[in-house]
């Protein structure tokens, strides 16, 4: 068994990064490494949004994006489910009505379990209703039509959109804006970020959505993993700088190494 050419550097980089992540996670768990995350306004606004919905007696809408649990956008869906755990806990605390809309059938049972367990952990299992987590359609635009229908009929007061979104991002954000909902959105899909920035009150940009679970739970393991990302980022920044200098000097050793 051998590696396919073109992946050799990638695999070794993956091993090194994995060791770095796991090491920082271990040190954080053991208390030998203290992690403090910077303030993320978008995540802090979630409580404000749910509180507002409670005061108004209107529902909170949450969408974990339209990606599946497989493929390169799957981490965004999992990150969204982490945030959903927190949203469920807060909804239970404030007795706010929560509506979770789902596009991908594979995400549906996961979201149902997250919400059910969230209510159970909060000591309010009776708050979980069959209509709390709703599968709308696996068709992208049918899904968004369903979401806009819910916005209009139920006049949601808070609209939380965390996960992978595509063309429906602005439709959902503008729909939420038109019914006057306070909106927190986040995605790592580069081309949808400007739409969220334009239409939402708070936007989580790129990697901030992955920090959501750690930030909201303050769990040491997750916090350690977030801190390790910064070290990897520093290493990457250094390699970009060194690579640029080397290429300018006519030496392509680093470039060749990266494509091995």
């Amino acid at each position: 068994m051998e590696l396919v050419p073109g992946n050799i550097f990638g695999v070794w980089a993956m091993v090194v990064v994995s060791i770095c992540v796991l090491l920082v996670v271990y040190l954080t768990k053991e208390g030998k490494f203290l992690v403090k995350l910077r303030r993320i306004a978008g995540l802090e606004a979630i409580e404000e949004a749910i509180g507002r919905a409670t005061e108004m007696g209107k529902p909170v809408h949450f969408s974990p994006g339209i990606a599946d649990v497989t493929g390169d956008t799957a981490p965004q869906t999992f990150a969204a489910l982490e945030v959903l755990t927190y949203v469920t806990t807060l909804s239970a605390k404030y007795n706010a009505e929560l509506i979770v809309t789902i596009r991908m059938p594979n995400v549906f049972p996961l979201a149902q379990e997250v919400v059910r367990q969230g209510y159970l952990a909060a000591g309010k299992p009776d708050l979980f209703q069959e209509e709390t987590v709703r599968f709308l359609s696996s068709e992208q635009f049918a899904y968004i039509a369903g979401v806009l229908g819910i916005f209009t009929r139920q006049r949601v007061a808070a609209n939380l959109m965390i996960g992978a979104f595509w063309a429906e991002s602005l439709l959902m954000a503008e729909g939420g804006s038109q019914v006057g909902a306070i909106q927190v959105a986040g995605t790592a899909n580069m081309h949808q970020i400007p739409f969220f920035v334009a239409a939402c009150d708070y936007t989580l940009i790129g990697e901030e959505i992955y920090a959501g679970g750690a930030y909201l739970s303050q769990d040491k393991v997750r916090l350690g993993s977030i801190a390790s990302q910064d070290y990897v980022k520093f290493a990457l920044m250094a390699s970009i700088l060194v690579g640029a200098v080397m290429m300018t000097a006519g030496n392509d050793w680093l470039r060749v190494l990266f494509v091995k």
Binding site: P105, E113, G118, R134, A167, G206, I209, Q229
Partner: protein, 218 residues
């Protein structure tokens, strides 16, 4: 065991899917490549799980809207339309599967998509044009320094891309190209690199069972 078994399955399947596309040759003891394990064993399971998930989701949809119709809840007529369309499409697809070579059935099924599903999706997509205008109006109101920078950059990019821009000032097109190629690309790459590392770390946490939120919490 309710937690450990799913975590073990996640780890093993994750490793196999990870090494599938980047390795060749057989795994020493198993005499089978990662790719073969994926295509022979895992892909059919993926299909089976997805089929069950679709079943669960469809039942949720039918029960929910069925109860709205039965209780004549406000807006029940929409629910009735949804249930009828869903059943109609299901029956149409079953007939299409049972008679795949019948030209009339194939044409009828094609017409459903061409004349109902496609125009409806197109209509939803078209709304984007209006929403872009209203969102841009709100975003470009110069209420803060950041919004003012956004407004100025947007005006330059728009004028640089429109033929009239070059007539107003020769430098608009080159300024627009610079804005897109340098500050915009730099910002985008920074976000992409950060998001890629974040995605990788999240995947690693899931693979090693450190992230368990998707199983309904710790």
């Amino acid at each position: 065991m309710r937690r450990e078994i799913p975590l073990l399955i996640t780890f093993l399947v994750g490793i196999i899917f990870l090494f599938g596309p980047i390795t060749t040759g057989n795994i020493p003891v198993l005499e089978m490549s990662f790719r073969q394990i994926v295509s022979t064993y895992l892909s059919p399971w993926t299909t089976i799980i997805t089929a069950f998930a679709i079943g669960l989701a469809s039942i949720n949809l039918l029960r929910l809207h069925g109860s709205y119709v039965a209780r004549k809840r406000s807006g029940w007529i929409n629910s009735a339309a949804l249930v009828i369309s869903m059943l109609f499409f299901t029956v149409a697809r079953i007939i299409r599967e049972l008679r795949p070579t019948d030209p009339e059935v194939v044409a009828f099924y094609g017409r459903i998509f061409d004349n109902i599903a496609a125009p409806l999706s197109g209509a939803m997509f078209a709304i984007l044009a209006f929403y872009i205008a209203s969102a841009s109006y709100r975003a470009f109101r110069a209420r803060s320094l950041e919004a003012s920078v956004l407004l100025v950059a947007a005006i330059i990019v728009m004028l640089g891309a429109a033929p009239v821009g070059a007539l107003i000032w020769d430098y608009f097109p080159s300024l627009q190209r610079w804005l897109l190629a340098v500050p915009n690309t730099a910002g985008q790459r920074a976000i992409i690199i950060g998001a890629a590392i974040g995605g990788f770390a999240t995947s690693l946490r899931i693979l090693f069972g450190l992230e368990r939120g998707y199983l309904g919490g710790d």
